[in-house]
Symmetry: C2
DNA sequence: TGTCAAGTTTGTCTAGGACGTAATAAAATT
DNA sequence: AATTTTATTACGTCCTAGACAAACTTGACA
């Protein structure tokens, strides 16, 4: 039995939203305490958690809010669509994640890095594995804490590799950041690893930085490039707006490179903002940059 | 100019609270846009940040809400007692932060760790320096991205030290987590470093985990203890509620240890939840645990 | 000095209404 | 038939103002 504030914390659905759903869709229907405050039974909270997942996948509230639990599960299985069995070579990692074997997972990830080399490692292992883990999470086969376990281990491996390549004299000098609302840092880390390998000087700003902070940091560190990562949780409009605002606020000579799933859906390329699809394009872009600078 | 949702995110003061302060104390007095929605000027947001900090220190709203900026700073200096200048040995770090010299900062931090040893390093350098950086940020002497620069470097140093001490066979097995709403991870990292040193087996869950995720992780990893960190952004009620719910959801034999500024304001100790003040107490608690287990 | 009762402060909850933006459906164009 | 443009609906967030319990302060008394 949770009050409305606790339900907001647990499910990530705002208080206002919970009340408006009750009015519009007739769900959830919490009981009331003696003060007439809402008290949500655990069963409804579980349903709300599932509903949140379905909404995150892009379904509309009208179709999911108010459905009974079995119907929600059916919806979930319908919308998952493609089966993630496509990558047999990644299954060993999935097994380690599900078995909560943190040390073994890190060992396997480290070994793969040294076996494949950074570029192949990122494109053939880390990127598809992250995608796969996301798929499993959507289907409910992997829990949030298991996903955390995975990204924690990848982070450790990549950061120590980046550390080995740190180069305070490298060019270009790149500042890595994400805009507010963007939580996924793995894309940023993969980009940092790629650019470190190319000899760039990398400065990592923590995620969720307001635009004026990014600008101040870029100027203070005298960077050549600001690199941003957008995952699919950001809407195309948010991405476009954010990039435009940043471009306006940043001095002309500092470039912007934007990558990640979120930019793949951008239609038009803005002036002064380099959109980057796959990681391999990032290498191309930095090579071009180096060539354009060297004659100077 | 921020709307009320953005101000809630920036300051940690709830929307309802902001509106009720306006009604009761006549501050803040946001301007309105054409839709009559509140728009808070940056100057008022800065004042609100300071107010939040004073409230977190235990002052009552009637005494601080509505005070002008200089009065707030005076109040802060009164209640802080010691001036930030009281730590001359920490000034060199502050200079490096303000000079954006990331590598030099990390070098200095690493050197201090090896010079002082972990326990003294945490209590004499990291904890007071983090506090000092927070103070400077409140006064506007340090920007957010500079604070990020600092915590990034501390994180790197502590994580690599923890890595060196990793022990998959250690006892107790401790799971580290923060509840939703809690963003500060440094306290958790300091606790992990302390316990690693004591020979514990440490598993780090990323921050902001819903209670059911913490429970699932604790059971899956078969931990002995769940360690939580609360900064001052969490209200005493939120802390109490969260701890109670977690205690109810967690199997009896798994202990809960809670630390950080946020628990210092808790009055009553709940059954089955160990509240921990300074880091040195943490050592005591783990020693007690070990002694109570060894006869078995 | 410590404890208890009465009084005050303060944050969170309640209600329904309003409105802009995002997502869909429909229409018009290529 | 495929794509772009426009109309319509869906949806979350913000608004007002009042109520109440928990936390805090104060003062009386042992």
């Amino acid at each position: 039995m949770l009050n409305i504030g606790a339900v907001e914390r647990e499910t990530g659905i705002g208080k206002d939203t919970l009340r408006v759903w009750e009015r519009r869709y007739g769900f959830p229907v919490p009981v009331r305490d003696e003060r007439e405050d809402r008290l949500y039974p655990e069963e409804q909270v579980n349903r709300l958690r599932l509903i949140k997942r379905l909404l995150d996948m892009g379904l509309r509230p009208a179709k999911v809010v108010g459905q009974a639990y079995p119907a929600l599960v059916a919806l979930l299985e319908d919308s998952v669509g493609q089966q993630p069995e496509d990558h047999p070579e990644l299954q060993k990692y999935v097994q380690l994640i599900k078995g909560h074997q943190a040390s073994e997972l890190r060992l396997a990830l480290s070994r793969a890095l040294l076996d494949q080399g950074m570029n192949e490692y990122l494109s053939k292992t880390v990127a598809p594995l992250s995608h796969l883990v996301g798929e499993y999470w959507l289907r409910g086969d992997i829990r949030v804490f298991e996903e955390h376990l995975y990204s924690e281990q990848v982070t450790v491996v990549l950061r120590s590799a980046i550390e080995m390549m740190r180069n305070d004299r490298g060019t270009p000098h790149v500042l890595f950041a994400t805009l507010p609302g963007e939580e996924h840092m793995l894309g940023l880390l993969m980009a940092e690893a790629t650019l470190s390998l190319q000899g760039a000087r990398c400065t990592m700003l923590r995620g969720q930085s307001p635009i004026n902070e990014i600008v101040a940091a870029a100027i203070a560190h005298q960077v050549d490039v600001v690199a941003l990562s957008f995952s699919a949780v950001m809407t195309p409009l948010q991405v476009k707006d954010g990039l435009q605002q940043l471009r306006r606020a940043l001095p002309q000579q500092i470039l912007i490179w934007a990558g990640g799933t979120g930019v793949a859906r951008q239609r038009s390329q803005d002036e002064g903002v380099q959109l980057i699809g796959p990681l391999s394009d990032l290498i191309k872009v930095v090579v071009e940059w180096t060539e354009s600078e060297s004659p100077t």
